[in-house]
Symmetry: C2
Subunit: 434 residues, 2 copies
C-alpha cells in the first residue's frame, strides 16, 4: 500500500462535487466579465522565480534539474507565467488582455488548516490598463464570485491598501530605509508579536521613533488621507493617495465599494506589487487568515523584457475559500446526484441500454447495471448513488410491453408502456405517468 505525498490531497467524488460547483461559480463570474480562459505549464525555469523574488524563494519551491540539465520549478503562482506569456505575444495581443485560469500550484509549505503543498487557485488578471476602473473591476469580479457562492456581502471584506503609499511614506523618512524589507514587515504585522514587528522595521532601517510614527501613519482613516500627503510632501505620495481614491470611486460605480475598507497595514507578501493591493477577510474573523488577495503589478512585464504593461489581478484560492463558505454555511452539499438508474432483471440489457441512451441524450445522469447484480443489489446501489428515479426493465414486464418507474424518495411506482418511455418527456418522472 502506497501513501500519498504529504501536503497533497486526493479528492473523492462527494467532496469534489462541492469543489466543482465552487470552481464553476468563480469561473462563470470571470467569464461573464469577459475574462478568457488560458492554460499554463506546471513547470517553469527556476531562474524566472529567482530573478523576480531572490534566490531564497527557491527554498520554498519544488525545484529540480530535469534530464536536459534545466533547473525547473513546479509553478508556485501564476503571475510570472502570465507575464511571460504576455511578453511572448505582446505584438499580437489586443489590449486590455483579460485572462483567467484555474489550476494547482505548489510550495514546500508547513502543512496546516487551509494550507497545503498543492493548492488550487483561479487567477484573474487584466493587462494593459493603468486605469482605476481596472482595479475596481478585479475587485468586482472577486465580490461577485463570493456572492455567487451564496455569501452575503456582510460575510467578507476587502482590506484595500496601496503599495506606493507605503513606499512613498518610507522614502519620506530620514535615513536609508530598505523599502522591500519594510513592506514585508508590514505584511507580517498581524502574524507576529509587536516586538518582532518593530524589530523587523528597525532592521529595515527605521529608528524606534520612526517605527512609532510609521505605525501611526498606517492607522490614518480614509477621510484624512491628505495627512499622509502632508507628511511626505512628495508628488509620489500625492499621486498614490489620488490613485487609491480613484480606485475606491470606481469601486463605488461598479457596486463593490461596500465590501471595501481602507487598511494601510495590508501589504501583501509578494515583491512585485506596485499600486493598490487588497486581501479578502472573513468579516467574523472566524477564519483568521486572509482568504485570498490581489493587486496591481505594473512593472513585472517590463521586468520580463516586455513593453511597459500595467497589470492588476486577483487569485481566489479554494482551500481558504472553502473554510469561509463552511463558516458561513454555504459550502455545497458533499454528495453525488443521479437522475436515473435503469435496473435490469433477466436478459434485458439491450432494452435497458436503449432507455439509458435515450435519457442520456436528454442530458441526464443515468447509470445501469455493469456488474450482473440481483434486483435487490441493484436497488441498493441505486439508493447509494441517490438516484431520483429507477426504471425497472424486467423480462416479464417487457413481455407485456411495459417497464416500471419507481420514485425513490416515496417508493411509489407505476407501469409505463415501454414504447412511450421516455417518449416526448424531457425529464420523465413517476408523476408524469402515475
Amino acid at each position: 500500500m502506497y501513501d500519498r505525498i504529504k501536503g497533497f490531497r486526493d479528492f473523492y467524488p462527494p467532496e469534489m462535487a462541492a469543489r466543482r460547483e465552487t470552481i464553476d461559480t468563480v469561473e462563470s463570474v470571470a467569464r461573464r466579465y469577459g475574462f478568457r480562459e488560458i492554460e499554463t505549464p506546471a513547470l517553469e525555469s527556476a531562474e524566472m522565480y529567482a530573478d523576480k523574488s531572490g534566490e531564497e524563494i527557491l527554498e520554498e519551491l519544488y525545484v529540480f534539474e530535469d534530464r536536459g540539465g534545466r533547473e525547473v520549478a513546479l509553478t508556485p503562482e501564476l503571475t510570472p507565467t502570465v507575464a511571460r506569456m504576455a511578453v511572448a505575444r505582446q505584438q499580437a495581443l489586443t489590449k486590455p488582455v483579460k485572462w483567467f485560469s484555474t489550476r494547482p500550484f505548489w510550495r514546500y509549505e508547513q502543512v496546516q488548516q487551509g494550507r497545503f503543498r498543492e493548492f488550487y487557485q483561479t487567477n484573474v488578471d487584466i493587462f494593459g490598463s493603468a486605469e482605476p476602473t481596472a482595479d475596481a473591476e478585479v475587485l468586482a469580479v472577486a465580490a461577485d464570485a463570493l456572492t455567487g457562492l451564496g455569501l452575503d456581502s456582510g460575510d467578507f471584506e476587502f482590506r484595500v491598501s496601496h503599495r506606493d503609499i507605503l513606499g512613498g511614506l518610507l522614502a519620506a523618512f530620514e535615513g536609508e530605509v530598505d523599502t522591500r524589507a519594510a513592506v514585508r514587515a508590514v505584511d507580517k504585522r498581524e502574524k507576529v508579536e509587536p516586538d518582532e514587528y518593530a524589530a523587523l522595521l528597525t532592521d529595515a532601517g527605521l529608528s524606534a521613533g520612526q517605527v512609532d510614527q510609521f505605525d501611526e501613519l498606517l492607522a490614518t482613516p480614509e477621510d484624512r488621507l491628505d495627512e499622509l500627503v502632508a507628511f511626505a510632501g512628495t508628488d509620489r505620495v500625492e499621486a498614490a493617495v489620488g490613485n487609491l481614491q480613484r480606485v475606491l470611486a470606481a469601486a463605488t460605480d461598479l457596486g463593490v465599494r461596500d465590501s471595501c475598507s481602507l487598511s494601510l497595514t495590508t501589504a501583501r507578501g509578494l515583491d512585485y506589487y506596485t499600486g493598490v493591493v487588497f486581501e479578502c477577510f472573513d468579516s467574523t474573523g472566524e477564519v483568521s487568515r486572509s482568504v485570498f488577495g490581489g493587486g496591481r503589478y505594473d512593472d513585472l512585464i517590463e521586468g520580463f523584457g516586455g513593453q511597459s504593461t500595467p497589470a492588476v489581478g486577483v487569485a481566489p484560492g479554494y482551500a481558504t475559500l472553502s473554510l469561509l463558505c463552511q463558516r458561513a454555511g454555504v459550502w455545497p452539499e458533499e454528495a453525488i446526484e443521479t437522475d436515473y438508474y435503469v435496473l435490469q432483471v433477466g436478459e434485458t440489457r439491450e432494452t435497458a441500454a436503449r432507455i439509458a441512451r435515450d435519457l442520456r441524450a436528454r442530458g441526464h445522469v443515468v447509470e445501469s447495471d455493469v456488474s450482473g447484480r440481483s434486483f435487490g443489489a441493484q436497488l441498493d446501489y441505486a439508493d447509494s448513488i441517490n438516484a431520483e428515479t429507477v426504471v425497472i426493465v424486467g423480462e416479464r414486464d417487457l413481455a407485456d410491453g411495459e417497464v416500471t418507474l419507481k420514485q425513490m424518495e416515496s417508493g411509489d411506482q407505476t407501469q409505463v408502456p415501454v414504447g412511450s418511455f421516455p417518449g416526448d418527456h424531457e425529464r420523465p418522472t413517476f408523476d408524469d405517468f402515475a
Copy 2:
C-alpha cells in the same frame, strides 16, 4: 525574456476555447454515464511506478528528491493513483466505483507532432466489476464522446484485443517465453520494421518458426476465434476468447459494436492490462498514431495491497484527439465570443456598470471599458473580441434618457429608453427594439 520549458505548452484564449469545448464534451458524456469527478495529486512516490513497471520506467519520468528526502515523480498516468485511492477507501466505497478526471500528466518524451512532455487526458474508470458490460460501457463512453465532438462513427475505429489471448497463446508455445517482452513486441509491431519485430519476439524466447506461427494466429478473424482455442488447447485461452466474445456482444447491446473491430495485434504498451484492451484509430489513417486507448486491469489494485478488485478504463488524450478532430473538420473554431460590449462616452461609468451588471446577471459575457478609451478605440476593441451587440452609453443620450444599441454584424443601431434596458429581455438585441 524567459522561455517556456521544452515540451510544455501555453494555451492562449482562442485555442483554449476550442480545447475547453472539447474537454467539456468528453466530461459531459462521462458524467451522463454516472462517472463521478475526482481530483488527484501531481506528485506521487516514485516507488509506486518503479514497483509496477520496473526501475527503467523512472528514466522516462520527471523524478526528483523533495526537501523531505522523498523520491517523487510527476504523475505520468492516472491509473496507479486511482488504484491507490481505491485501496485507501476500499471499505467505504460502494462498488462499482465509477470515476473520471481531466488533468495533465508528464513524461520525458521525444517531442513530436501530437506528443508533448506535458499532456492532458480525461481518465474514465470502473472498479469492482469483472462483467463484460463494464468493458462495453467504457467503449460506449469513448464512442459517445467522439460522436459528441461531431465525429461520425465512420471517422474512427476501436481496435479490440485481449491480453489473455496473447498471453495464453504465448504460453502454449514450446519453450520458455517471456510474455511481458513478447506483448511489448506486439505493441511495437506497427511502429518498427518487420525484421526488428521478429527480433524482439526472438529475444522474448520464440523460435523463428514460432514467430511466423504466432503472427499467423494474430491474424485470425473474428468468426474463427475457435481456432485459437484449438491451437492452445487450454482453459485459459478458451476463457479469454469467451470473454472477448461476451464483451463484443455487450458492445452490440450498448450500441457501440459498429465502432469495434477485432485486432489481436493491438496490445497496449503498459504491463498492467489483463483482459480486453483497445486502441482508437483514425479510420482514414491520416492520423497514423493511436488516438487513445484503454483496457481491463484486474490485478493492479490487489497488487497495491487492496482486495481483489477488477477494473477497466479508457483515457482520451487531447493532443491526438485534436489531430483527429482537425482531420475530420470538426475541431471547434479557435475564437473568443462576447455577447455585449457596454461602451462609455463621457462620465457614464455608473450607468454603464449598472447595465453590464444586469446583463451579466442574465448569464451573458459582457465587457466594458477599463482603459479610459475613446469611442473609436472602444468600438475597435469590441470588434476584436467579437462582440455581438454594443450598448453605447453616452452622456448626451443619457440626458435624453436613452442608450444606443448597435448590432455589430450589420452595423445597424437604434435608441432605447435607458429605463427599459435590459428590462424583461433575457437576451436583448437590436431586433427587440428596432
